[in-house]
Symmetry: C2
Subunit: 197 residues, 2 copies
């Protein structure tokens, strides 16, 4: 069965991809892009290094604009990120019977509650899978065991999360420190290939 | 890393075992038994047919008695089953760094909330994993794809869940229809081997 994993090049979505492949799904990795910046490139590189099929999932800029509007109104990213992620799931559901992401047990955002998941699965006749059964300790250990990882400050060249284009759009709209205040600089760990054994 | 999967021979705990084995954990399946009935035998057979290492996890009958006391007081099984499952996790944590079970997204019982999971992991310095990222539709399809399954009315010879010894103890204490009322007869699907491909 074809399964789409919404893919950032990070360890969570990489582990989800590995689990589904080992469970015999035909896995395609898809990285969301709203057309503002080529922020999908880092994820494409991670996917290639792991040997997974990868494609951009082109989404309309209006989804990004709606998310940014919510974020600017709230002053924090959670609801806007959830809005964007839910719209993206709807798009993915048009082409795949199984949609997965790297959301894990401890994640607070993006996050779908049980009712939202059931409603999504039923209305679109799809299955939705994530890493809600796995905590951060397990993900950390697993990713170190499976992958070659690179820890670095996040930027446009190494990060394929929604965050990059959200920051860019906020900068365009505000031209001040708003984006840096809402999304402070942080370290990330990116999958750059399989660990040699 | 050694991982213990609390194992009933059903599709949920079987899929959990398969995922962990494919992620390179050293998996041991453990089936809980309180010493009243040899209800572990069906799970041992499933484990053997799948080629997994399997052992009984012998637990003190007082845990069962406590669970049954709660169930009889409540008139329904949820809190008593949760009590038993939490005690069993504590026992498993004495011997394994990673403890998993087949609890999935839709399960209502046994179930641990996020705070209980974190407290369990931190106090025992273990990792706890389950199938909370997988819904019943995905589990059904996956299990049909991976396993040879047998659907049948549940009984002592084909079911290794807590339920069997709980029913037995309730029957001993009450000698009436209480056990059948709290645990109505139901169909179950048991893993009897790998699906031939």
């Amino acid at each position: 069965m074809n399964a789409c994993v919404l893919y950032s090049g990070g360890k969570d979505s990489s582990i989800m991809a590995v689990i589904l492949q080992k469970l015999e799904y035909k896995v395609e990795l898809r990285t969301v892009n709203f057309g503002l910046l080529p922020s999908w490139k880092a994820a494409a590189q991670s996917a290639e290094n792991l040997g997974f099929k990868h494609r951009i999932l082109e989404a309309d800029e209006t989804i990004l604009q709606e998310g940014v509007e919510i974020i600017l109104k709230d002053g924090y990213p959670n609801n806007g990120l959830n809005h964007i992620h839910q719209q993206i799931l709807q798009i993915a559901a048009e082409n795949y019977p199984v949609i997965a992401d790297g959301i894990r047990r401890d994640d607070r955002v993006p996050k779908l509650d049980l009712n939202k998941i059931r409603s999504f699965e039923d209305s679109k006749d799809v299955e939705y899978l994530n890493l809600a059964g796995f905590g951060y300790k397990s993900i950390d250990k697993l990713s170190k065991n499976l992958f070659k990882l690179k820890n670095e400050l996040t930027n446009i060249n190494n990060n394929s999360d929604y965050e990059i284009e959200i920051r860019y759009l906020i900068d365009q709209l505000r031209g001040d420190e708003t984006a840096s205040r809402i999304f402070p600089e942080h370290m990330q760990s990116r999958v750059i290939g399989w660990r040699e054994k």
